[in-house]
C-alpha cells in the first residue's frame, strides 16, 4: 500500500498519531530534564551536566538508559497490584492529553468540539493514580504526600478553570483551533494578563513543583508519593511530571500566547518556541522561590486566587456585554 493511501485509512491515522505523540513525548522528556538541570546549574553558579555529549545534551539519555537497566524493586509490605498499576495511571492521562494540543494549523490529532474541557477533565485522572501510588506503598510518607497532593490539586483546579473561562467567554468556543485562530490579530495575554498569571501560578501548583511542592517536600516527606518506587517505575512518574510540564505550557501557549500564530517561521516552530519559553519560566520559578507552608498554600488559593479569578471573570463578561 502506498503511504498516502495508508495515511487516509483509520488505522493509518491512528498509527501516525501515536507515533507522533511518542516522538514529541520522548523529545520533550530528554530536553526538559536537560533544561532543568542546566538552568538550575546556572542559577546556582554551576555549569550543570557537562560530560556526556556537547554541554551534557545526552546526559538525560544516559540517565534514562541507567533507569531502564535498573532492577525494579517491589518492597515487601506493598499492595502489589495497585503498586504496579499506579505509575501507568499517572502516565496515561498525560499521553491522552496530547490528543487535543494544536501543534500547528494542520498538526493536531483530533480537533474536538470540547477540546479545552477534554484537556482539563483528563488531567483529573492522574490524581487517582497518585492516590493509588501513595496508598499502595504502605508508607506513611507516601500516604501523606498523596493526601497533600490531592488536596492541592483539587484546590488549584478552581482558579485554573475560572481563568480559562475568560478565554471561552471571549472566543465563544471550546474548540482549541478556533481559540488559536481568534488570536491571529492580538494574543489573549494582552487583554487577559491577570488570568494568564493566575493560570501560570495554579499550573505550577498542579504540577507539584516548588514553591508549591509540599507533596514531595524532601525535608519532611523523603520524596512524597513515589518514595518506594525505583528503576523504570520511578522513571515513569518522572517522565509524567515533565510531560505534564510541557502540556501545561502548551496549553498556556494555545490559550494566551496565540498558539502557532507568528511571522516568518513555520507555525510548529513558533509553537515550540513559545511552549519552551513557558517551560523556562516554570523552571526559573522553581529554582528561585522557597517552598510554602501547607496552610499558606491553601490560604493563597482559596482567599486570594479564587476570588481574584472570579472578579476577573465578572469584569470580562460585563465589558463584553457593554461594548
Amino acid at each position: 500500500m502506498e503511504l498516502t493511501s495508508l495515511l487516509n485509512t483509520f488505522l493509518g491515522k491512528v498509527i501516525i498519531s501515536v507515533a507522533g505523540v511518542m516522538v514529541v513525548f520522548t523529545f520533550n522528556a530528554l530536553i526538559a530534564v536537560w533544561l532543568e538541570r542546566k538552568i538550575s546549574g546556572h542559577i546556582q553558579l554551576r555549569l550543570g551536566p557537562m560530560e556526556v555529549g556537547p554541554h551534557g545534551l545526552l546526559q538525560s539519555a544516559a540517565d534514562g538508559l541507567k533507569l531502564i537497566c535498573k532492577e525494579i524493586i517491589t518492597p515487601q509490605g506493598v499492595d502489589k497490584k495497585l503498586f504496579g498499576v499506579a505509575p501507568y495511571m499517572v502516565f496515561f492521562p498525560s499521553l491522552l492529553m496530547f490528543i487535543v494540543i494544536p501543534f500547528s494549523d494542520r498538526l493536531q490529532v483530533q480537533d474536538l468540539n470540547i477540546g479545552l474541557l477534554y484537556f482539563f477533565s483528563i488531567s483529573c485522572i492522574a490524581t487517582i493514580g497518585i492516590f493509588m501510588a501513595g496508598w499502595a506503598s504502605n508508607n506513611k510518607y507516601s500516604l501523606m504526600g498523596a493526601v497533600r497532593s490531592i488536596a492541592q490539586s483539587i484546590a488549584y483546579e478552581i482558579p485554573i478553570i475560572l481563568s480559562i473561562l475568560n478565554i471561552v467567554v471571549l472566543t465563544q468556543s471550546l474548540k482549541l483551533s478556533e481559540i488559536v485562530k481568534a488570536q491571529s490579530n492580538m494574543w489573549f495575554i494582552i487583554p487577559q494578563f491577570v488570568p494568564f498569571i493566575i493560570y501560570l501560578i495554579s499550573a505550577i501548583a498542579e504540577l507539584n513543583r516548588t514553591p508549591f511542592d509540599i507533596p514531595e517536600a524532601e525535608s519532611e516527606l523523603v520524596a512524597g508519593f513515589h518514595t518506594e518506587y525505583s528503576g523504570m517505575r520511578f522513571a515513569i512518574f518522572f517522565m509524567a511530571e515533565y510531560t505534564n510540564m510541557f502540556l501545561v505550557s502548551a496549553m498556556a501557549t494555545t490559550l494566551f500566547l496565540g498558539g502557532w500564530n507568528g511571522p516568518l517561521l513555520p507555525p510548529i516552530v513558533w509553537f515550540f518556541i513559545k511552549t519552551y519559553a513557558i517551560v523556562f519560566i516554570i523552571i526559573w520559578v522553581r529554582w528561585t522561590f522557597p517552598r510554602l507552608r501547607p496552610d499558606q498554600l491553601m490560604n493563597f488559593c482559596w482567599k486570594f486566587l479564587t476570588p481574584l479569578a472570579l472578579i476577573n471573570l465578572l469584569v470580562t463578561t460585563f465589558i463584553l456585554k457593554l461594548f
Binding site: 468540539n113 470540547i114 477533565s121 483529573c124 485522572i125 492516590f131 501513595g134 490531592i150 465563544q172 471550546l174
Partner: protein, 163 residues
C-alpha cells in the same frame, strides 16, 4: 461490525468493574473499580456522540466524586475484620429489592423508548446547553446551586463543632 465490537467491549468493562466495585473486599479496591467503571461510561458517551456529557462525566465523577470517596477511605482506619457470614434472610431481601428495582426501571425504559429511533447528536452544541440552562431549566439549576450551598455550609458547621 467494528462499532459493535467496541460497544460490547465498553459494556463488558462497565459491567465487570461495576460488579468488582460491589464484591471486592477491600474498600479502596471498590473505589478504584468504581472510578474505572465510571470512566468507561464516559467512553460510551463519546462513542454515542455526546462529547460534552463525556467530558463532564470524567470531570465530575472521576475527578471529584471518586477522589472524594477515596479520600474518605484513606482517612478512615483500615478494615481488618473478616466479613461475617451472611444472613440468608437478609440476602433474600437484598435480591428481591434489586430485582424489583431493575424490573421497574426496565419496564419504564421499555415503555418509553422501545422502538423509538435512537437519535445520534451529530454536532453537540454547548451554547445550546447553556441557553437551555439559563432559560427553560433556570429554576432547577438555581435550586441545585442552593442545595450545594446548604451542603457546604452544613459541612463547615459540622467540622467547626469539634473544636
Amino acid at each position: 461490525m467494528f462499532s459493535d465490537v467496541i460497544f460490547i467491549l465498553f459494556w463488558l468493562v462497565i459491567a465487570v468493574f461495576a460488579a468488582l466495585a460491589v464484591f471486592l473486599q477491600k474498600p479502596i479496591y471498590n473505589a478504584f473499580s468504581m472510578a474505572i467503571s465510571i470512566f468507561s461510561i464516559a467512553g460510551m458517551y463519546i462513542f454515542l456522540g455526546y462529547e460534552f456529557l463525556a467530558a463532564l462525566q470524567v470531570l465530575v465523577y472521576v475527578g471529584a466524586i471518586s477522589v472524594a470517596i477515596i479520600f474518605v477511605i484513606m482517612l478512615s482506619p483500615p478494615v481488618t475484620v473478616k466479613p461475617k457470614k451472611l444472613n440468608p434472610f437478609k440476602v433474600m431481601i437484598g435480591v428481591i429489592t434489586s430485582i424489583t428495582f431493575f424490573a421497574v426501571f426496565f419496564i419504564l425504559f421499555y415503555l418509553k423508548y422501545y422502538g423509538s429511533e435512537f437519535n445520534k447528536v451529530e454536532n453537540a452544541n454547548i451554547s445550546d446547553v447553556g441557553v437551555l440552562l439559563a432559560t427553560k431549566y433556570a429554576v432547577p439549576f438555581e435550586i441545585i446551586s442552593v442545595i450545594l450551598l446548604v451542603a457546604i455550609i452544613g459541612a463547615i458547621v459540622l467540622a467547626k463543632k469539634e473544636d
